[in-house]
Symmetry: C2
Subunit: 243 residues, 2 copies
DNA sequence: TATATTAGATGACGTTACGTCACCTGCAAT
DNA sequence: ATTGCAGGTGACGTAACGTCATCTAATATA
């Protein structure tokens, strides 16, 4: 029967010698053989037990509980609960990522974030709100899912939308009207982007802008002000009169 | 200017009073105002700072480093690195989940796991091996991705495959030939399953069984023994002679 | 008015899962 | 003869708080 020394076990499982000695000390994993000089030798069974321990530890179970549970749980039970734990972590991570992306994108829109925005986003992460996509029909969802730039989406398209909205906000601040050269440029950029996104489906596109008028809590979008929406509509209308 | 007491802040951010006092103690977050009785009052700026701290803490940065970094990093920098961190966690989690699923499925096939199987799987999780899907053509991948039951897939189809393989192993152990009633039943169940999976594409199906003959390290599959594969082929051949 | 409750404060010690350090041993190689 | 290495044993240190005993000021209730 092959046996392993502390050093060998450490390398295999990437843990420290101290850890093994500690587990021996607290009677969690005692090597099945100790020679006259006190050197520890681990059997294959010991390694299985160690594996169980590490799995249970990854559930952030305290070592004391692990010691009590170890013999009562089968390998499979441990693996299954480990699996469930990982799944839960996964969904938490995903919502965390989406919230972080939202915040980052928001920072591009506002120079300084208001405290309330941040709090709302972080608090909402507990019980996720109605998602904007729910405002559309079932059969449209699959298409929208990838195509529409929600604020939780940090791809290139989203960024371009954000840049355009910034540009519009700049225009409003500097009293530049939608019916101007700048307005024309914005309108054509917007139309090109929209065309890319909606592939010519004008009805979907209009629905999209309608939804963006709703307050942020309901849609998950960063709310676009009435002023910006008006600028969009007027600049596009102006562009169409010239065409 | 609104101010918040310790208790209020604790509830908002779901941390303990002790934590706030500790942060004060180590000079990480000192409330901007203390009254004559030593009661702490936090301003909006303080709350922003706390938010930064909690974000950096979630990167598992030690508090001491956080204190040094806090003024040097903008909110956005923090958010972006937080985002990167989360992404990394996500991919780790995903491979962890897939490995765990593999192990669980393996346990259905073997009553006792051999130590070497476990070690290989856990070690491979560091640098992911060639994936089985790479054995197919690019344009076939998208179809295969969802349809084929790899061992890292715990859906219903996978489970049915595993049950069938267990049944075949049972037959082999009890010396029941492929050319028997039991063999016939297995063959028809297999064919039905394969039809579901491959939607009649027999060429893909044959490739699939070919790949399963390769050793596990290369494919990521649980290796099917020659005996089982032979049983499969013979039982199907037998079924076809009777049809 | 007396008192009970609440929301805060301050030491001081405890906790987990090890890291780190000083020092000791048996054995192989130089 | 000594050097290096892989292992050992206390003993103390660490991070980020939890917990406990005790104290204080303000408010609510009898």
């Amino acid at each position: 029967m092959k046996q392993w020394t502390t050093g060998e076990v450490c390398k295999q499982r990437d843990i420290s010698i101290r850890t093994l000695r500690y587990y021996d000390q607290i009677n969690l994993l005692t090597p099945s053989f100790k020679d006259a000089n006190g050197r520890r030798y681990y059997s294959e069974d010991d390694l299985f037990k160690l594996e169980k321990i590490l799995l249970l530890k990854s559930l952030s179970l305290p070592l004391e509980n692990i010691r009590d549970l170890l013999d009562k749980l089968s390998y499979k039970q441990i693996l299954v609960s480990h699996h469930n734990y990982l799944q839960e972590q996964l969904s938490k991570l995903q919502s965390s990522i989406s919230n972080t992306t939202s915040l980052i994108n928001m920072m591009d829109l506002e120079d300084s974030l208001s405290w309330e925005h941040v709090v709302k986003l972080v608090q909402n992460s507990q019980n996720p709100p109605k998602k904007w996509i729910d405002y559309f029909q079932e059969d449209e969802k699959s298409f929208l899912q990838g195509a529409i730039p929600s604020i939780s989406n940090n791809d290139k398209t989203t960024h371009q939308y954000i840049l355009l909205i910034q540009r519009i906000e700049w225009c409003i601040k500097h009293n530049i009207k939608a019916e101007s050269d700048e307005g024309l440029q914005i309108a054509s950029a917007l139309m090109e982007l929209s065309n890319d996104t909606f592939q010519g489906d004008t009805e979907l596109m209009e629905q999209f802008w309608e939804v963006r008028k709703l307050p942020a809590e309901e849609t998950g979008f960063y709310p676009i002000s009435e002023e910006v929406l008006e600028f969009v509509e007027r600049s596009i209308a102006y562009a169409e009169t010239l065409a």
